[in-house]
Subunit: 235 residues, 4 copies
DNA sequence: TATGAATGAGCTTTCATTCAT
DNA sequence: GATGAATGAAAGCTCATTCAT
C-alpha cells in the first residue's frame, strides 16, 4: 500500500512542478502570450504530459490562480493568528490584503484577469468548481472575522458580515487595481498617493460601521481625519 | 475646399460605421473570439478597409472602449446639467455611474477588460494616448464636481478633489464588478443585495467627508444607518 | 503441464475479451475515431496490456475483421449442413451471405473497409497472413460447394468452381454495399428495391451457368422472369 | 466587367491547380497519410490558401473524387458518341467502365474509398451535395442508355433502366475491386483470370435480360458460353 | 480609397507507442 | 504478465496582417 501512496505523492509533486513552471511563464508572457510549449519546456516535461495533468491552457491558468487564492488565505490566517481585538483584526485583514498585493502582485493580477466573465466559457466545469471552492473558503474566512466583530458588539448589529467584507474588499480592490495599473501616473502627475487614499477610504468605511463601544476603544488611536472639523467642534 | 470637407466627413462616418460593427461583434464574441473578418462582414466592408482605419484588432477594441468613455462622460454631463447643491451633484454622479453600468453594461465590461495591464503592450502608442485623453476628460469632469463641493464648503477643505473622486469611483467599480459577475450568486445564495451594499458604502464614504455644514443641510435626508446608535445618542 | 495449459487458456480468453471490447469500440467510432485508450477502457485493461496482445491498433482491427470471417464461415457451414441438392446449396449459400449482411452488418462493413489496399501497409505481416488464412478458408468452402455442383453435373463442366463463387460473391457484394450505403435513397427516391435486384441478378448468373439437367430439376421452381418471353415461346 | 470575369477564371484555375496537386499527393500517400502541408507544397501555395478553397482535407479529397466522376462520365459520353445499336451501347458502356478502371485506377480506388459511410461524417454538407450531383449525373447517363435498349425492345419491357444499370455496375465493381486488390493472387495462385470472369458474368447478366429480338440480332456474335451445351442440343 | 486573395507562423491538442516498475 | 505515466511527433486549422490591383 506504500507503493500506491508514493505514486500518489509523486503525481501530486509533478502537478506542483507544472504549476510552478506555468506560473513563471504566465507571469512573463500572460495567458494569451504563453504557449503550452513554453510551459512544458519550463517544466522540463513533454507537452503531452501537461495535458495529462490539465485539460487546457486555460484550466492550467485557473489552477495557478487557485494557488493565488491559497496563498491569500494563508496570509489571512497567519494575520488572524496574531490576535487582537475584533477591530484590530479587521484592520490587520485589510493590511494582509495589501501585503498580498505587494508581495504577490502577479497573483493579484491573475485573479483580476480571471474575473472577466469572458474567460469562464473556456474553462472546464471541474476547474471552475474547484475555483469556487477556493473562493468560498476565502470569503468564509473573511466573513468570520467580520462576524466576530459584530457579535462582540464592535460593529453595528444590523450588518451582514459578508456585506461588511464585501464593502471593504471591493473598495480595496478598486484602488489597488488603480495602483497596479498607474501608480506612477497618479502619484507623479496627479499628486495623489493612492496608498494613503486606500487607508483613508478603508477607515471611513470601517468607522462608519463601528459602534460607540468600538469608537471609545479606539478613541485615542482614531485617525482624526478632519482637524478643521475638530476645531469647528471646539468652537 | 468643400470637397475636402466632404471627404473628411465621409471618412469619419465610415470610421463610426466600423466602430458600430466592431462593438456588436466584440459584445457577441469577446476580443479573443472576434475575428477581423467578422467585423469586416458586419461593417459590410473588406478586411483590408478595416486596417485602413485601425492599426490592429486591439486598437479597434480600444477605440470602441473609448466610445464607452464618451458615453459615460455624456451621461455625467447630462446629470450635472440637472443642477442641485454640490452634495446632490455628487450623489447624482454616483447614480449616473450606476446608470452607465445598467444601460451600457457591455461598455462597462470592456473598460474593465482593458484595465488589464497585459493588454497595453498590444496597442499602438497613438491609441493609448487617445485613450488617456478620454480618460483624463472623465476624471477632469469628476474632480470638477468634487472641487465644487469642497470650494463650497460641503466637503472638508483638506481633501484633494481627485482623491475624493477616486475613492467613490473605486468603491463603486469594485462592487459593480461583483454585481456584474455574480449578482445571482450573492443575492440568492448569500442573501446579499449588492445594490444596497453599494449605496450604503457610497454614503459611508461621502458622509465621512462631508462638513458639518453639509450634514446640517442633509440632516433630514440623511440615511440614519444606525437607529440603535441614534437611540443611544438620545438616551 | 496443467498449469501451462491453464495459462494458455487464460491468455486466449483475455485475447477474446480484448476483441470483444475492440469490436464495440470500432463499431461505435470507426477505426480512425477509436483510440487505444477507448479500447483499453472498454476491456477494463490498461493500454499497455492491449499492446501485449496486439502489435498495433490496425492489427487489432484486422483481428476483429478476422472474427467476422469466422462468423461468416460458421453461417456458411451451418447452412450447408441443412443439405439439399447442389443448386439448392448454392442458393442457400447466397442466402447465408445475405443473412451475414443483415445480422452482422458491422462486420460486413469492416470487411469492406479492409479491402482498401491503402490499409495493408499499416498492418503486420503476421496479421495479414492470418487474415489470408481465414480468407482462404472461406473461399475454400465456397468453391467446394461450387465444385460439388459442377461434379454432379448441375453446373456446366467447363466452369472453374472458384470463378463461379467469385461471380456470385462479387455480384452480391456490389449490391449489398449499395444497399448498406443508400437503401433509403434507392428505394424511396429511385423506386428500386435492391434486395429484389440482388435476387434477380443472382438468379440470372446462376441460371446462366446451370446445365439442362439442373434446369429440368428446377423447371417448376424457376423464376420465370419474362412472362412475355414465355408467351413468345408458346406462340 | 472583364475584370470580374478574369478574376473568376483565375480563381477557378487556382482551384484546379490545387486539385491537381491534391490528386498527386493523395495517390502517393492516401487520405490519412497525406497532410495539408504536403498538398500545399505540391501546389506551391501556402497552407492557408488551401483552406481558402476547401474547408477541410476530407472535403478536398471528395472534390478530387468528384473529378473522378467527371472523368468517368466523360469516358461514358465519348463511348456513347460512337453510336451502335442499344445492346452494343451497353457493352460499350461496360467496356468504358473497364477503361476507366484501367486508365484511372487511382480515381477508381478513391471512389471506392469514399463509399465508406464512415467518411461521410467528416465532409461538409455542401461538398456532399456536390458529390451527389455528380453521382446523379453519371447514373442518369447510365440509366438513359439502358432505357434506350428497353424502349427499342432489346431488353425486356418489365425492367427498370436504373435497376439494369445497377446490376451491371455492381457486378463489374465487385470484380474490379477484387482485381485491383489481388490480381496477382487470383491469377497466378488460383489460376483465375478475373478479367475473363468479369466479361463472362456481364454477358450472363445482359443476355438474361435481352429479348428474343436482341438475341437474334446478336445470334452470330453471341458468346457461345457452353459449346458442350450446344452439342447437347444438337444430339 | 477599397479590395480580398494570399500568406505562414503558430496554435492547441491528440494519441499510438514505449518502458520502468 | 500488467500497468499507466510519459513521450513527442505530427497535424489540422486559424487569422491578423499585407499588398498588388
Amino acid at each position: 500500500m506504500g507503493i500506491q501512496e508514493r505514486k500518489e505523492r509523486e503525481k501530486e509533486a509533478r502537478r506542483e512542478e507544472i504549476l510552478d513552471a506555468a506560473y513563471k511563464v504566465f507571469v512573463a508572457k500572460g495567458l494569451a502570450g504563453a504557449t503550452v510549449d513554453d510551459i512544458a519546456a519550463a517544466a522540463e516535461l513533454s507537452k503531452g504530459t501537461i495535458y495529462l495533468y490539465f485539460r487546457s491552457k486555460e484550466d492550467l491558468y485557473l489552477a495557478v490562480t487557485n494557488r493565488g487564492l491559497d496563498i491569500m488565505l494563508g496570509i489571512f490566517e497567519a494575520t488572524a493568528a496574531q490576535g487582537g481585538d475584533p477591530i484590530r483584526q479587521i484592520w490587520n485583514l485589510s493590511d494582509a490584503y495589501n501585503s498580498f498585493y505587494e508581495e504577490h502582485r502577479e497573483y493579484f493580477r491573475m485573479l483580476a484577469f480571471f474575473e472577466n466573465p469572458e474567460m469562464h466559457d473556456t474553462v472546464s466545469e471541474e476547474m471552475l468548481a474547484e475555483c469556487q471552492t477556493h473562493d468560498a473558503k476565502v470569503w468564509g474566512f473573511v466573513s468570520g472575522v467580520m462576524k466576530n466583530a459584530i457579535d462582540a458588539g464592535y460593529l453595528h448589529a444590523g450588518l451582514n458580515p459578508l456585506e461588511v467584507g464585501m464593502m471593504l474588499w471591493s473598495n480595496s480592490t478598486g484602488l489597488l487595481r488603480q495602483l497596479d495599473r498607474n501608480e506612477e501616473y497618479w502619484h507623479a502627475r496627479m499628486g495623489i498617493d493612492l496608498r494613503k487614499t486606500l487607508r483613508m477610504s478603508n477607515s471611513f468605511l470601517l468607522e462608519a460601521m463601528m459602534t460607540d463601544k468600538a469608537m471609545q476603544l479606539y478613541h485615542d488611536q482614531l485617525i482624526h481625519h478632519w482637524p478643521t472639523r475638530s476645531q469647528e467642534k471646539k468652537s
